[in-house]
Symmetry: C2
Subunit: 218 residues, 2 copies
Amino acid sequence: MSELALRRNPSLVTMIFERLETMILSGQLQSGEPINERALSQQFEVSRAPIREACRRLEQAGLVTIIENRGVFVREISKQAAHETYEIAHLLSIEAAKKATENVTDDDLARLRTLALRIEADASDNDLASYYTNNDNFHVELVRLGGNSKSAEVYRALNNELTLYRQRGLRRLPDFERSLAAHRRILEALEKRDRDAYVAALEAHSSNMTDRLLNLGV
Amino acid sequence: MSELALRRNPSLVTMIFERLETMILSGQLQSGEPINERALSQQFEVSRAPIREACRRLEQAGLVTIIENRGVFVREISKQAAHETYEIAHLLSIEAAKKATENVTDDDLARLRTLALRIEADASDNDLASYYTNNDNFHVELVRLGGNSKSAEVYRALNNELTLYRQRGLRRLPDFERSLAAHRRILEALEKRDRDAYVAALEAHSSNMTDRLLNLGV
DNA sequence: ACCGTGTCGATTGTCGACAATCGGCCATTA
DNA sequence: TAATGGCCGATTGTCGACAATCGACACGGT
């Protein structure tokens, strides 16, 4: 009687989807890696049907590729696809930034500061998976400040896809100091409600990210 | 032995997904309407499993809502969600426009002209479903001219979601003349490779679309 | 030694059955 | 008459089984 089998609310499909999504985004399942229904069925102690359904959702979310009669594979993202995806994410991020400084509340700032502290702790602990998760959440929250929640949702989805590309370079440590400094600049500009400084800080951070993506070439 | 049962390549899931997607986007299945697995299973002469899997994809694509133990319903989009979605689609459209006039080829123009002619025929025939389909394709092609194919893909997905909202006003005819005139202006600017005129034509068309969305209020 | 063909095993795709869930309807009580 | 509770039927969620598919490996022929 596994943990999954005990939890009957929400549905197995939802739980499996979330579990697999986490395994993919955390790097536990790597790009190109097969996802074996039978093995998962045994591991999770459920039948294959809810696993298949969860994989269909993952497929549509762009996180896996289902090859007919061959199986499910964690998706591989090409350099070009990564650039295109990043470009859209960046566009959404900058567009949200235009309204962020007028929308931001003290609660927002508190939440972002908490996140930034977590990211710094992750960097100290060299906990890369947690670092990226909290980093992603930080950026999604920034987009949410633009006041368009659909935009934050789309940004999240794009970012998830980008995680697949980025994890090819997980052996290479991020430039922690540079990123943390960028986060602090972003937060300072937000606290001052200084729109131009905020947009500039985001752009500078983004420029750094683009360089890193380029250096992950095929 | 139904048409679906004969076609074994691609998979049933893919075929059912596409079939349901078309039924939803064409208005054959309306927002809020239940999608009954058993009935579909009988209609399509397949078992429920591939239908369920297709519905999971539709769920992730934002076209249906799956309520546990209750069933699958074509998604209902609120006015606010529609606005937010439209805002992102518009942003992608304008961003693509910035590069469209330098990227566009004669083949592109020929394809777009063909589409525009189809749209005009649809308007003459009062074939609303086809009108919107071709109209959507026209706009996706415009975004594709920006050179970022992921952007076109995201735009398509957003536009599909917007279709759910827009179909609530299907009883109200579009302003054909105004739209067709706008399409012609867009095409002319593209043919001249006049970037400013092109962006202005898109903005004007978009302004008209925003007004129409507002008038579909809850 | 290399190439082509056939077979087998692992896995996937779909099927139909069973159990669980929920809403609607009916009966009873206040 | 209205409200509440219980039951039943329709539908969904998951299960396990069967058939189909594909790739790898082995064998035979050139």
